[in-house]
């Protein structure tokens, strides 16, 4: 059935092409619906319990989504500069999407003056003289609520905080950034430094980088892939086939995304590149298999270009059908393991990439055999079983020598190395901060640090205290709780600053008490609190207290990027807030950036879960496909080793776990197992023709070295291309995935053969697909009381012999430990006398067994057994069966029991 599927493209060429063309057209219909989304919403876990609280808090106290326009100048507080600043303030206000701008021009100063109090704006307009400018500077720096909030402590930098109207339009952020940037650009000549920082800029830069990645990564990956394949196979056809399958897969995937409403995110921007790279692996294996087929066809004296191609394609399909399906499935499992991630960013990536791999698998199955049978190379490279040359040959020789001479040392060193890397991996930290997605040398990162240094971090979160009683936060006792919480925040030393209603009241209290520092305190009575509050406009207080004074809010600014550190401090803060608030107040600590960072924990949990699922699925799949639990377990070893090495390197180099790097493990396992599957399949096939398993391992490595090294190198180079990405997360993903691919060469060519020689595999598909003469076998005494499945498996662990007419299978006088079961044809049992005469003792036909005495006990054969027609027979070698007793004890035991029965009956 599998062969029929693989040969569809060859035998139903037109139908296959029509299917591909129609599907491509349907996919193309989805392309216009393809959208780009770099919003933060997809970085927050869907089920985050804080989401609702955050929305409620944002509704009550205003959104934490604001842009800061930072202005710095050595002579900022001069009439000219302030006039320019005023123009900038008003120009920003004039933008249609701007809700309000907070800055020194609408900042209210409350200040005690001789015998009275002044409550007025610091500046209504730019002062006309230097005295006015100096007074404004003095007023601004006098107010502790302003310093490090809107004005730097040295007065040389100020912030204009721009609140933007809610807008969900896809392109809004980019348009807003562009318009604000145009205003900022006009102001630039007036100041030493002026720039904007906020969601519009971050989103605009994310989008710009995303488009750049799309333009750069996929073409570069494709070019590298072509060069790598040309280098190893010296065939343009071999190089162009992966490009064609990848191109179609990308088109199908993008079309599906458009139709399914999955937008292109920063992670999905690398999808085309990934498809080019990952999709090529099967193509490379198939091309290598095709070359092997060509060599076999040449050896089989097939002539004519068309016949050669056809024969080579069919041989390739026969050898690669099962491993191709398996590798596609394992890669799909690897990618789709995150399909249920609570993070939209990762979930979308998982779904789209799994679809892409699946689509690529289908296209490969339909198209590659068709193209090879049609246009494939005609000249074989090397002979079957010949040692490969170049890098693959060197790898085979080196790893072969190590395996042969130092197998124990290799295993011990590998185990120790893994131990060391596991220890390094324990140093891993996690981050989901969008700012860390950018490279450190980006102006955006520099600007963010600048704002934090001069003012405070640009990230904001809220601590909200809720009472059931209206006016609760007119009570000094409740306000003191805010003070205690803020003191705790100060003690934590992680966050830049916090502001609350208590600060505003303390300021007025200080000013009504002659500006004495010791009067910086919450007023003593409820009435005084209420009366002081009359000096503020409601909009001054709206971020800090609800209209009915039943809820109070502490606004905290910070610039923490290490999610785990932030989450730890936030957990500690939540505990403290609950403690200080007491049982009569409900508390919430919330903010968009907190939810994004909290998703980092989800990220780790999700990846551990995904890794577990992938390993379990691959274990089950391999155990099932090779009908061996031990085989399933051993198959994981060469996949797990590169992952351990990768995690260790992350710990060693301080690369964090983030939405990009966290996925490397599961994706890499899905890809690295491909090599193992090909090795196992080849080993399985070779084991059927030899009883020397070490020899089979060596042959397997020789056969598979070229595709394993070529695909791993191509994958490493392809993933390495992601280092060119504008996003740190993508670059880190690429670097780690590339390293993992290289580790997988070491694992597959050194460790896999070491562990593989200790197992004997039988492919499930071989068992199910085996054509056997049912009547013959069911009647055979060798298979007495065995199920159909057991019979098939017993056949597969035996050795198949095809003997032409006249040839001896057993020779009288020789020592042989093999027993045979005739599948087809006839043989004579002939005893030769000393004088050379022969006597036919018996004629054997299908289902009959011979050689069982030699199998049981080492003794000389007493007669010849000669084929009188072409014969197919199964050979059960004693030594081999002794080995297989370890691997298939149940079946071998049954066979031995049946052999005893046969002997008993003959005696």
């Amino acid at each position: 059935m599998l062969q029929t599927l693989f040969l569809l493209g060859v035998e139903r060429r037109l139908a296959s092409l029509l299917f591909i063309v129609l599907t491509t057209l349907v996919a193309a219909l989805g392309l216009p619906y393809l959208a780009v989304d770099t919003g933060f919403g997809r970085m927050i876990a869907d089920a985050d319990p804080g989401k609702q609280a955050w929305l409620q808090t944002a509704r009550t106290f205003g959104s934490d989504n604001r842009t800061i326009v930072y202005v710095r100048d050595e002579t900022l507080w001069t009439p000219d500069k302030l006039a320019a600043l005023e123009r900038l303030h008003h120009a920003l206000e004039a933008l249609p999407f701007v809700e309000r701008v907070d800055g020194v021009f609408n900042l209210r100063s409350i200040r005690g003056v001789a015998g009275g109090i002044e409550a007025r704006p610091i500046m209504l307009e730019a002062p006309r003289d230097q005295a006015g400018a100096d007074q404004a500077r003095e007023d601004a720096l006098y107010n502790p609520l302003v310093v490090r909030n809107l004005v730097s402590p040295d007065g040389r930098a100020v912030a204009l905080v721009v609140s933007v109207r809610e807008n969900d339009t896809g392109d809004f952020d980019r348009a807003a950034y562009r318009d604000m940037e145009a205003v900022v650009e006009r102001a630039r000549p007036a100041f030493t430094e002026v720039f904007q920082i906020g969601p519009p800029r971050i989103n605009a830069e994310l989008t710009a980088s995303l488009y750049r990645d799309l333009m750069v990564l996929a073409p570069t990956s494709a070019a590298l892939l072509v060069l790598t394949i040309l280098f190893f196979f010296r065939s343009f056809t071999a190089a162009l086939i992966p490009l064609l399958t990848a191109g179609l897969s990308i088109l199908w995937t993008l079309g599906m995304m458009g139709l399914a409403g999955i937008p292109i995110s920063i992670l999905l921007a690398m999808l085309p590149s990934l498809v080019v790279v990952i999709g090529s692996t099967e193509d490379v294996h198939m091309v290598a298999g095709y070359y092997r087929g060509l060599a076999e066809a040449q050896a089989g004296k097939v002539s004519g270009a068309r016949a050669m191609r056809s024969a080579a394609t069919r041989i390739m399909v026969r050898h690669l059908g099962v491993p191709t399906i398996l590798t596609v499935l394992t890669t799909v499992v690897g990618f789709s393991s995150n399909a249920f991630s609570p993070l939209g960013l990762i979930r979308d990536f998982a779904i789209a990439s799994a679809f892409a791999v699946l689509a690529n698998g289908l296209i490969t199955v339909l198209l590659v055999p068709m193209l090879l049978a049609w246009f494939g190379p005609r000249v074989a490279r090397g002979l079957p079983g010949a040692m490969p040359g170049g890098l693959p040959g060197a790898a085979v020789r080196t790893f072969g020598a190590l395996r042969h001479r130092y197998s124990l040392v290799v295993l011990v060193v590998t185990a120790m190395m893994c131990g060391g890397f596991v220890w390094q991996a324990s140093k891993l930290y996690v981050t989901n901060d969008p700012m860390t997605y950018f490279r450190g040398d980006r102006p955006l990162v520099h600007d963010t640090e600048r704002v934090q240094r001069d003012l405070s971090g640009v990230k904001v979160f809220y601590i909200t205290l809720r009472s059931r009683s209206p006016k609760a936060f007119l009570e000094p006792a409740q306000l003191e709780k805010l003070v205690e919480i803020q003191a705790f925040i100060e003690k934590q030393g992680l966050f830049d600053r916090s502001l609350s209603l208590a600060d505003h009241l303390a300021l007025v209290n200080r000013e009504f008490n002659g500006g004495k520092a010791e009067a910086w305190a919450v007023p003593a009575t409820r009435n005084l609190v209420a009366q002081y509050l009359l000096f503020f406009h409601r909009s001054d207080l709206s971020p800090y207290v609800s209209h009915d004074f039943s809820q109070a809010n502490i606004v905290v600014r910070h610039n923490v990027s290490d999610s785990r550190r932030l989450n730890r401090h936030i957990a500690e803060l939540r505990e403290a807030v609950r403690h200080f608030a007491g049982p009569d107040l409900q508390t919430t600590v919330t903010g968009e950036n907190l939810m994004i960072n909290a998703a980092a924990d989800t990220l780790i949990g999700g990846q551990i879960e995904a890794l577990g699922i992938v390993l379990a699925v691959i274990f089950l799949m391999m155990s099932l496909m090779f009908t061996s639990l031990k085989g399933g377990l051993i198959a994981l070893v060469p996949s797990v080793i590169p992952i351990i090495l990768m995690l260790g390197i992350m710990g060693l180099l301080g690369i964090p776990l983030n939405p990009g790097t966290a996925m490397v493990a599961v994706i890499a396992i899905g890809i690295a197992i491909d090599g193992t599957i090909h090795l196992f399949s080849r080993y399985n096939a070779l084991c059927r023709t030899t009883s020397n398993y070490d020899e089979a391992v060596l042959e397997t490595v020789k056969d598979e070295a070229l595709p394993v090294v070529a695909t791993s190198l191509a994958l490493a180079l392809g993933f390495g291309v992601l280092l060119l990405s504008d996003f740190t997360v993508v670059a880190q993903f690429g670097a780690l995935a590339a390293a993992t691919m290289l580790f997988s060469v070491f694992a597959n060519l050194l460790i896999t053969p070491l562990v593989m020689s200790r197992i004997r595999l039988v492919g499930l598909y071989d068992i199910l697909a085996m054509s056997m003469q049912r009547e013959v076998l069911e009647k055979s005494p060798l298979f007495h009381d065995m199920t159909n499945y057991q019979i098939r498996k017993a056949i597969l662990i035996s050795e198949l012999r095809e003997v032409p007419t006249g040839e001896l299978l057993v020779e009288q006088g020789t020592a042989g430990r093999s027993m045979y079961l005739v599948l087809s044809g006839e043989l004579d049992v002939v005893r030769r006398a000393g004088d050379g005469s022969e006597r036919v003792l018996a004629r054997l036909g299908p289902g009959q067994v011979f050689g069982e005495i030699g199998y049981i006990r080492a003794t000389q054969r007493t007669a010849d057994v000669r084929a009188v027609t072409p014969v197919t027979a199964l050979c059960f070698d004693h030594q081999r069966m002794a080995k297989d007793l370890r691997f298939f004890p149940h079946i071998v035991a049954k066979l031995n029991f049946n052999i005893s029965r046969i002997l008993g009956e003959r005696l």
Binding site: R59, H90, E93, A94, E99, R100, N106, R108, V113, G115, G116, I117, E118, A119, R120, P121, L124, E125, K471, L474, F512, P523, T525, R526, N527, L528, V529, A530, Q531, Y532, L533, L534, F535, F536, H537, R538, S539, S542, S546, H547, D548
Partner: protein, 302 residues
């Protein structure tokens, strides 16, 4: 009668909170002839408006101040308002909060002389000492948490402004003059936190039903509207409801006049002395006898 500059200035001193601009009301929707005695000259229109509706020197009002935020949340304060124009042409006003309990007794005292400068003081009962003087420069500041600045409470001095008729517009089918006012000079400009203003005067009565406050770049930042107009006498009208909208802060203050008395008995001169406040006498009804005879909102003269 022609008013002197100072007389005119004093005459136009009016609190928006008490709907101080006398207006001429008419039935909504009915076509009304233009006020006959006014030339179609912007300054003449403004001066006529002031002249018709500014002649009450003693005003007492009981008000509800309703503060409305962007989300529509409301908080209500009750207050008493006193206005007195002295013979020496000084205008003095006092606003006393009665409710909610926490701010009961808080008082704002403001005085404006013939010159442009104003002085103010605040009395906070919960504060030791109680009385605190306010800033002389109140431009752009808000008035005890409302959307009014003290300068908004004072009707502009027409001699400080240049006027230009921008045209006529209808509000609810009632034709209005739209008059643009701009500070006459830099000194005049320095007295205001805003730039130009745009007044909407009913053509029939010269009642200003709306004033738009523009910033220095001509953008609308605040709007004061007078509603529930009530006739005081043949030519004079007052509004029982005043709405101030601050578009930048997205906040509104609605003043509802629940009771109004235009009587000297309700605004004795002693009320405006700091000592009166410090003795907490402002917390007591000024004239219980008069209070019982006082008219409901709309105004009554004794």
């Amino acid at each position: 009668m022609k008013l002197s500059r100072h007389g005119l200035l004093l005459a136009v001193l009016q609190l928006a909170l008490c709907a101080g601009l006398p207006q001429v009301a008419r039935a909504a929707g009915a076509a009304t002839p233009e006020a006959p005695a006014v030339k179609r000259d912007a300054r003449a229109l403004m001066e006529a408006s002031v002249r018709r509706h500014q002649h009450d020197p003693y005003v007492y009002e009981e008000q509800a101040l309703i503060l409305i935020d962007a989300a529509g949340n409301r908080s209500v304060r009750k207050a008493r308002f006193f206005l007195r124009v002295e013979a020496d042409r000084r205008m003095r006003m006092l606003l006393v909060f009665d409710d909610p309990e926490e701010v009961r007794g808080v008082a704002l005292l403001a005085e404006r002389g013939a010159a442009r400068m104003a002085k103010s003081a605040v009395y906070l009962p919960a504060l030791a000492g109680g009385m605190v003087t306010g800033s002389a420069d109140t431009r752009g500041s808000h008035f005890l948490g409302t959307d009014f600045a003290i300068e908004d409470l004072v009707v502009e001095a027409t001699e400080d402004w240049n006027y230009r008729i921008e045209g006529t517009r209808e509000i609810g089918r009632v034709p209005h003059w739209v008059v643009r006012a701009e500070p006459r000079d830099a000194d005049a400009a320095a007295t205001t936190g805003h730039g130009a203003r745009r007044h909407w005067l009913r053509k029939d009565t010269l009642f200003i039903v709306r004033t738009d406050y523009l910033d220095r770049r001509g953008r609308l930042v605040k709007r004061q509207s007078w509603r529930d107009l009530r006739r005081i006498d043949a030519d004079s009208w007052r509004a029982d409801m005043v709405l101030m909208e601050d578009f930048r802060e997205q906040h509104k203050t609605l003043v509802k006049v629940e009771r109004r008395v235009l009587s000297q008995d309700y605004v004795p001169a002693a009320l405006f002395e700091p000592a009166w406040l410090q003795a907490r006498r402002h917390l007591l009804p000024v004239s219980p006898d008069a209070a019982t005879a006082a008219a409901p909102a709309g105004g009554a003269r004794n």
